[in-house]
C-alpha cells in the first residue's frame, strides 16, 4: 500500500526579486510504501524541504498530483496520522517542552486525559524527561531536535516526516535518534527522512531518492545504489603477482594489501578467476562485490549529470 503518491509534481516559487522564478521541484514522481524508511537525499537547495512541506499541505504544489494517506494534502484529514519535524524550527518559545507536547496533542484532537501520559512517555523516549518543565527558549540545538521529534510522535503517527533530524545533535544523540527510528519502523510505521548527510540515510533507509535541482536523479534501494556493478575484491595470497585475464572476461584493476581487485564483463567471469587462482595453488579467503559508500555513489551521480564546470559546487555542498 502506498502511503504517499506523487505524480509529476512541480513547484515553482515566484519571487519578487529579480532572480525570477525558482523551480524547486520539477516533475517529481515517486511512491512511498507502508512500513519503509524512505530517504530523500540531495545537496542544499535540491528541493527536499519543499517536497516535505507539500506533503503536509504547508506549501501548495504548482501542478501535479499529491496523495497522502489517500487524501489530498489540502484536506486536514490527511494529517490525522502524520508527524512532522520541521527543518530549522522555532517552536513557540513561551512554552515548556511539556507545554509544547500538550499543545501538539490538543491540536491533534487527542483526549486531554491521554495527552499527559503520552507526553511523559515521549519525553523519556527522546531522553528529555528532566527537561519537560524548562522553557524551550533555554534548550540547546540538540535538545530542540529531541523535543521536535517527541512532538512529531505525539499522535502515534503512521507516517513520520523528518527534515534533517540530526541537525545540531551530538553523536550520542544521533545514535539515539536512529534507535527511535528503528523502533518506529519495527511498529510497521513509515518514515520519510530528509537529509544531506549521506552516511545517515545509508545506515537506516530502505530506499533512497536522490534529488538534485528539483529532479529525482535516481530512486533505488540503498544496496543497489551502493553496489558497484561487477567489481570484486578478492582476498587471496596473490602477493604482487599479476594474473593474466582474457579481455572478454575482464581485467585486474589493482593489487591490494590482501589480494587484488578485478572488474568483470559478466558475473560468471568470477569462476574463471577462481579456476586460474586455484590452478596456481593460490589460497582464496574471500570474494566480495565492491560496494561504494552512498557518498561516493551520490558524488558520481551528481557529477555525471552536471555540465562541466557549471555545477561543481553542487556536489561540494553535500
Amino acid at each position: 500500500m502506498n502511503i504517499v503518491t506523487l505524480e509529476q509534481l512541480v513547484k515553482i516559487y515566484h519571487t519578487r526579486m529579480r532572480r525570477g522564478n525558482i523551480t524547486a521541484l520539477n516533475e517529481v514522481s515517486l511512491d512511498i510504501e507502508q512500513g519503509e524508511i524512505f530517504g530523500l537525499l540531495g545537496p542544499n537547495g535540491a528541493g527536499k524541504t519543499t517536497l516535505m512541506k507539500i506533503l503536509l499541505g504547508i506549501t501548495r504544489p504548482t501542478t501535479g498530483q499529491v496523495v497522502v494517506m489517500g487524501l489530498p494534502p489540502g484536506d486536514a484529514g490527511s494529517r490525522e496520522k502524520v508527524g512532522y519535524l520541521p527543518e530549522n524550527h522555532r517552536f513557540p518559545s513561551h512554552l515548556t517542552g511539556m507545554g509544547l507536547l500538550q499543545l501538539a496533542g490538543r491540536m491533534c484532537g487527542m483526549p486531554t486525559s491521554a495527552i499527559k501520559g503520552r507526553a511523559e512517555e515521549l519525553l523519556a523516549v527522546v531522553g528529555m524527561d528532566k527537561w519537560g518543565d524548562t522553557k524551550i527558549r533555554k534548550y540547546s540545538k540538540g535538545m530542540m531536535q529531541r523535543i521536535g521529534l517527541a512532538q512529531a510522535l505525539i499522535n502515534d503517527p503512521d507516517l513520520l516526516c523528518l527534515d534533517e533530524p540530526t541537525d545540531g545533535v551530538d553523536p550520542v544523540g544521533k545514535v539515539e535518534i536512529r534507535q527511535v527510528l528503528e523502533k518506529v519502523r519495527a511498529q510497521g510505521k513509515t518514515v520519510l527522512l530528509n537529509s544531506h548527510l549521506l552516511s545517515e540515510v545509508e545506515s537506516v533507509a530502505d530506499r533512497v531518492a536522490i534529488l538534485s535541482k528539483g529532479r529525482v536523479k535516481r530512486l533505488d534501494s540503498v544496496s543497489n545504489l551502493t553496489s558497484r556493478q561487477l567489481e570484486y575484491e578478492i582476498e587471496a595470497d596473490v602477493g604482487d603477482r599479476f594474473i593474466e585475464i582474457p579481455e572478454e572476461i575482464g581485467k585486474q584493476i589493482a593489487v591490494t594489501a590482501n589480494g587484488m581487485r578485478v572488474e568483470l564483463k559478466k558475473k560468471e567471469g568470477i569462476n574463471y578467476i577462481i579456476d586460474e587462482l586455484r590452478q596456481r595453488r593460490i589460497n582464496i579467503y574471500s570474494i566480495q562485490p565492491v560496494r561504494l559508500s552512498l557518498e561516493q555513489s551520490f558524488f558520481e551521480l551528481v557529477q555525471d549529470q552536471s555540465t562541466p564546470g557549471g555545477t561543481q559546487g553542487t556536489g561540494g555542498a553535500v
Binding site: 501548495r60 524550527h89 513557540p92 490538543r106
Partner: protein, 265 residues
C-alpha cells in the same frame, strides 16, 4: 480550534505586556481614590432630595466616562500588544509546527484570533471590573448600564483584530500590522471631520472619496459615543457606526481566511 486559546494565555503570561496592564490599572485605581474627597464634597448632605438625585446622576456619568476612557487606553495597549501575534505564529519555522497539525487552516486562524480576542479581551474586562468595583465602593454609586462600556471595548477589539490580523497574514510583518492600525486610526479620526470638509470643498470627486471611505471604514469615535450614550441612558438615533463597523470587520475576517488558505509557508 482546541488548545489555541490556552496557548495564547500562556503566551500572554510570558510577556512583559502584562506589567504594562498592571501599571496602567494601578494608576487608574490611585486616581479613583485621589478624587474621592472631591466626590464626597459634591454630595451636599443638606440639599433637597431632587437635587441629590441630580448630583448622583452627574456623578454616575463621570464614573462611566472615566471607565470608558480607561478601557480605551487598554484597547490601545491591546491592539499594539497583539499586532505581532499573528505574524509571529506564522513566522518561518513556527508556522510549520501549527500548520502540520490535522486541523484546517480556517480553524487554526480563526481559533488563534478568537483566542486573542477572548484572552486579551478577558484581561481588559478584568482590569475594568477591578476599577469599577473600586469606584462603586469609593463613591457609593452603581448603574447596570455601565456594562455597555465593556461591550464597547470588546467590540472595538474585535474590529481592530480584523485589521491587524489581515495585515499580519498579508505581510507577515509585525511592523506593517502596527502601521496599518495607526494609519486606520488616523484616517477614521480625520473622517470624523467629514462634514466640515464637505462645506469647504466642492470638488465632487473628493467628496465622493471622503464619503465612500466614511461609510466603508470602521468609526471608532462614533462607536464609542454610541455605547457611552447607551451607558448614560441617552437615546441613540444613528446605528450606522455600529453596523457598518461590524460589517467592515466581518468582511476583513473573511478576506483574511481566504488569503491565509492560499498562502505558502
Amino acid at each position: 480550534m482546541r488548545g489555541l486559546a490556552a496557548d495564547t494565555y500562556r503566551e500572554l503570561v510570558d510577556r512583559k505586556l502584562l506589567w504594562l496592564y498592571g501599571i496602567v490599572t494601578v494608576i487608574m485605581l490611585l486616581s479613583v481614590f485621589a478624587v474621592q474627597s472631591t466626590v464626597d464634597n459634591m454630595r451636599l448632605a443638606d440639599a433637597p432630595p431632587e437635587m441629590q438625585e441630580q448630583i448622583g446622576d452627574a456623578l454616575g456619568q463621570y464614573v462611566i466616562g472615566g471607565l470608558y476612557w480607561f478601557l480605551g487606553i487598554l484597547v490601545f495597549l491591546t491592539v499594539m500588544g497583539t499586532a505581532g501575534l499573528i505574524p509571529s505564529m506564522f513566522s518561518r519555522g513556527r508556522a510549520e509546527f501549527y500548520l502540520s497539525k490535522p486541523a484546517s487552516r480556517t480553524s487554526i486562524l480563526l481559533g488563534k484570533l478568537a483566542g486573542i480576542w477572548s484572552v486579551y479581551g478577558g484581561l481588559m474586562v478584568l482590569a475594568g471590573l477591578l476599577v469599577l468595583g473600586t469606584m462603586v465602593v469609593a463613591y457609593d454609586l452603581f448603574s447596570a448600564t455601565v456594562f455597555f462600556v465593556f461591550v464597547a471595548a470588546l467590540v472595538d477589539l474585535f474590529i481592530w483584530l480584523s485589521v491587524t490580523g489581515f495585515v499580519g497574514v498579508l505581510s507577515g510583518s509585525f511592523a506593517m500590522s502596527i502601521m496599518a492600525a495607526f494609519a486606520l486610526w488616523i484616517i477614521q479620526w480625520l473622517l470624523t471631520f467629514r462634514e466640515a470638509v464637505e462645506q469647504l470643498v466642492d470638488n465632487s470627486l473628493v467628496l465622493r472619496v471622503v464619503d465612500t471611505l466614511y461609510y466603508m471604514l470602521p468609526k471608532f469615535s462614533q462607536l464609542g459615543d454610541l455605547f457611552l450614550a447607551m451607558g448614560q441612558h441617552k437615546p441613540v438615533d444613528d446605528w450606522l457606526p455600529l453596523w457598518s463597523s461590524l460589517a467592515f470587520a466581518v468582511v476583513l475576517y473573511i478576506a483574511t481566511v481566504w488569503l491565509f488558505k492560499r498562502k505558502d509557508y
